[in-house]
């Protein structure tokens, strides 16, 4: 487990919408509790730069993308369902 590479997470938000804010705080809390030191979070505000949505083909906001490790995974919503988030962040063999 200690040799596990950091997960690279990209969270797409839309400025300060309630769901965007909730997703940011939920993601930070979950990562601090369950993946301490093993994650990188990049928050992308699509309100400031909507074109960045193209990279991961984002339609609904907020959406969390697990870039690494591959395969890429998407979790749509404010990440308030902690179990669902953890299931999607982990690989089957973790």
């Amino acid at each position: 487990m200690n040799q596990e590479k950091p997960k690279k997470l990209v969270l797409y938000v839309a400025g300060q919408t309630p769901k965007s804010l909730a997703a940011i705080s939920n993601l930070r809390r979950i990562c601090e509790e369950h993946l301490p030191g093993r994650y990188e979070i990049d928050v992308v505000d699509l309100r400031e730069n909507p074109k960045l949505a193209r990279e991961h083909n984002i339609v609904a906001i907020p959406t969390l993308v697990r870039e690494l490790p591959v395969p890429l995974r998407k979790i749509i919503g404010d990440l308030s369902d902690e179990e669902k988030v953890l299931v999607n962040l982990r690989l089957e063999n973790e």
């Binding site: 839309a14 300060q16 919408t17 309630p18 769901k19 965007s20 909730a22 909507p50 404010d78």
Partner: protein, 484 residues
Amino acid sequence: MSISPEALADLQRRLQEAEDTLRAIREGEVDALVVGRMDQPQVFAIGGDAEGFRAFIEVMDTGAAAVDDTGRVLYANATFAELVNAPAPGRALADLLAADPAEVAGLLADDTSPRATLQVTQYGPAGARFLVVASKPLQIGTVAGHAITLSDVTDRVRTARAEQNERTAQGILASVNEAVLVCDADGIVTRGNAASRALYADDPVGRAFADIVPLVPAQGGLADSRAILERAMTGPPVQGMEVFAPDAPGAKDFLLSAAPLRMGEGAASGCVVTMVDMTQRKAAERQQLLLMNELDHRVKNALAMVIAITRRTIRTAGDLATFEKTFTDRVRALAATHNLLAKNAWKGLTVQNVVVAELSPFMDMGGQRITTEGLDTLISAEAAVAIGLVFHELATNAVKYGALSSDTGSIAIRALDGGAEGALVLEWRETGGPVVSKPTHGGFGETVITQSLAFAQGGGATLDYDPAGVICTLTLPPEHLPAV
């Protein structure tokens, strides 16, 4: 048309993703969408833009925040963060407030009540703060949350408490019986209760304590009011010092205590002087001294009387047995009057009381043969002892030689009218007994009878050996007849 397994897997993944997106939109899990052409996408907020609301709470003076449907803070202004001593976004409101989580949950209950409030005490670097938390349901974008405000009522609560403390202090001051004067560091009276008017008739507030209440300590030590205040503020408290207040409008004897007034840490900001009226205690002490002197006097009198009885009885008694009986009877007569006086605290005895006490042994023998009339006059303690002894001697002689020595004799004791200058004149008259003749020599009995009442000027007794029966006339001057 054939399709590769990789392409099929990619199609399935994209289909799954499209279904997830639709479900999330349908179930309200997202509140913004990317719409428009792919080369010019735009972000569209569902349920209205919450930016305006956020900007509004930022400029509010009171603490304001928006919480989502799970009770977590979405937005909070700077005042809110300062009042809860923590950055608030993302944290549960129940974790930020020093309150019972159930009460916070009640505040966020999804009901129709227009506004719920809760009072909490929040502790921070600046000490305790009293906050009123108010909540109102609020739709924020797609979220059914609550708007929360925090009002800092610390100053209001402290002012109310200070006012309550002030009222309590005033109530305590007003209800104590002791005079209480509070002085500042310069010895100026800042507060005085109603009882302090016993020291200074006018309002003492604003006047120098030493000027309005000059004091003379009863026992050495501190010289005056100024020295007492100085000692109270700098040295150990002054406790239970007897003082005399010559200028006080009423009572002048007081028991003084003075202690420094400390408001928190540091030097005394003044002192509190309490003074207890000692008038009653002083009067009691004087009364006690008087009683002790009176007791001393009476004991000496009683011993002198016993010595006189002893001497005269030895001279007249023929043998030891006669001496014993006569002496004992006479001392008992003395004791009977003393008992009576002690029961009545040495005052308030009537002639009738003394007659009954002295003659009760003879009344058993004489039955109805002893009658009294008009003996309700009050007499002094000294007169009571004297006539007690006289009646005892008269009764003893009556049993031996007079009316009570036969079956037919009787005795009448009554007050006579017409005493000179208000004197009380009593008559003892025996009738129906043996024929009386004057004795050849006067015994102690006769001496007692004729001289006992000579203690007072104008008092005395005469004995008449009438053949029909002894007649004794006793006179008590008016100064031994206390008014009722």
